[in-house]
Symmetry: C2
Subunit: 331 residues, 2 copies
């Protein structure tokens, strides 16, 4: 499979390399006649320009890098789609990389992306420390951080209004008469987790509710683990009548734990999730949860990045709105 090159097209069309280049890139200074002749030959030969040869001279590859913890997580898979959508619309392709929450893997992936010469990077929930991260980002012409901010760095960021989301969720529980509200807070080092915890604490405080430290329990964001954590929490704090959960998977674990302990949801214990993944409306009882614009995060991150690449002015931080979805688990 010998690749067809511009020289082949030029020879076949009886023109010079330059003319072919001009015809392909829609530059002016070329007659309509020769332009269409060149295009005909391109078509006939099935010529495809070499993006990498072009990239070598233009210094632009038309590619973006997207780094997420785990693309099989519905949260990130929608973000990915949003990014890809924005990229496609502008003729860019995107490298998708999974870090599996492993900082070392994250380093490797970032390095490979610099070697691939991506025009920009979108980094989702990075595990690296500020110092390393900042250093790594310097290798990229442009970058956007999702769900994290980093001090003293040119990279912009986008995130959902997590603290506010937690606030309205907990306020809703309070309005429904709950005051003993526990929280299954997710991973302790999660940036979103901190914001959500913060929103929870603030809402309790604003309502004049004294929160017990034992009401808060960190847990890994998976169904089985959080089920165990929920059993623990509900056993040690039987006074709790409601649980606010880090995310929907944790909330599902909490529902399972409640059933396991013979407590009815929502009659004996109300449960609120976060993220509104597709699952949320389909489990029984359907989850009351905070809806997040996952796809939109990705899409806007993509557009922010493309704007940055093209040198347009950019705001440093975008915060996307959230919405409480009232369903059965906490009506």
């Amino acid at each position: 499979m010998q690749r067809i090159t511009m020289a082949d097209v030029a020879r076949e069309a009886g023109v010079s390399l330059m003319t072919v280049s001009r015809a392909l890139n829609d530059k002016d200074g070329i007659s309509e006649d020769t332009r269409s002749r060149v295009h005909a030959v391109v078509e006939r030969l099935g010529y495809r320009p070499s993006g990498i040869a072009r990239g070598l001279v233009t210094k632009r590859t038309g590619t973006l890098g997207l780094v997420v913890p785990d693309n099989s997580n519905p949260y990130f898979s929608e973000v990915s789609r949003g990014v890809e959508h924005a990229a496609f619309a502008r003729g860019y392709n995107v490298f998708l990389c999974n870090t599996e929450e492993d900082p070392q893997r994250e380093s490797i992936v970032l390095q490979s992306l610099t070697e691939k010469q991506v025009d920009g990077l979108i980094l989702c929930s990075p595990r690296l420390l500020d110092g390393e991260l900042s250093k790594a980002l310097n290798y990229f012409p442009a970058s956007i951080l999702i769900n994290r901010v980093i001090e003293n760095h040119a990279s912009s960021a986008i995130r959902s209004d997590d603290d506010n989301g937690a606030g309205i969720a907990v306020q809703h529980l309070i309005k429904r008469g709950h005051s003993a509200i526990g929280m299954l807070a997710g991973p302790e080092r999660s940036f979103s987790g901190r914001l959500r915890l913060n929103g929870y604490l603030t809402a309790l405080k604003d309502a004049g509710i004294q929160h017990e430290p034992e009401w808060i329990q960190f847990c890994s964001p998976m169904v089985e683990d959080s089920q165990k954590a929920a059993v623990d929490l509900l056993t040690h704090c039987p006074e709790l009548t409601a649980l606010f959960c880090f995310n929907d998977l944790v909330a599902v674990g909490a529902i399972k734990a409640s059933m396991q302990l013979g407590r009815r949801v929502p009659e004996d214990i109300a449960i609120v999730g976060f993220d509104d993944i597709p699952l949320a409306s389909l489990v029984t009882p359907a989850l009351t949860t905070v809806h997040i614009l996952r796809y939109e995060i990705g899409r806007q991150a993509g557009e922010m990045l493309l704007a940055k690449i093209e040198g347009k002015p950019m705001q440093a931080l975008t915060v996307l709105p959230v919405e409480l979805m009232l369903r059965t688990s906490a009506p």
Copy 2:
């Protein structure tokens, strides 16, 4: 941000370009001494090789293309992760592209991937016709098809054992005493759909059960649409005591339809899904479904592709086993 080049490293280390190249690519014919000296300079300068310059001469970019209909679908997001995992292990990066089931978009995406000079392509559920597809694939050095075969072409394929999976699912229903078994068959043009329908028909025939044409209803693979289709089907064919569904989302629709019609699952109507997506075990009643190795499809597709790229011998078709997961919806 002036990029550091090999020339900078060479000058700084007091050696020639070639020596730097050799040191970086672990070629022999270079003393351990100078190698480490070069590496030190590389480290100090923060030099990163340009993959695209390298690709221009080696004709290999270390990238793969992955084309799926929709990465936010849990099926494909796991396939993606499998592909990326295999690629990462061998130092490759992967371009993820969504076609959104749009043939035109698929063409565009494939063309952009050829310009990016990917070393290989994995194409999932292509919408293009055999002729176009075959022509498009010729632009790629190597390719693997997921869930589709194409005649007279060098590209290998991988898929799950869909027909057999449908067979064991329906046989299970028959063993439990059902004979009036309907099928919500998914999109009519789906390759997997055809195989599953086929397995369903064969199982009925083998059991000597006469199937009524009206028992089969095609539907789009989404919860709301299939709920409507299921209401239709159950209303027009009240004799049905079991439903075999194209996939789990359709099965969830069928469960909702049953509830809507006041029929209990599984007492009045047994329901079996397909794919075993994460959701399946979490809905109520938990879905009996056919488990598919989604991640494994991706991973093995990736490894097949890499083997092909490296010229290793390859079998033309891999069929992955499936397994019936007995849960509540059809015990």
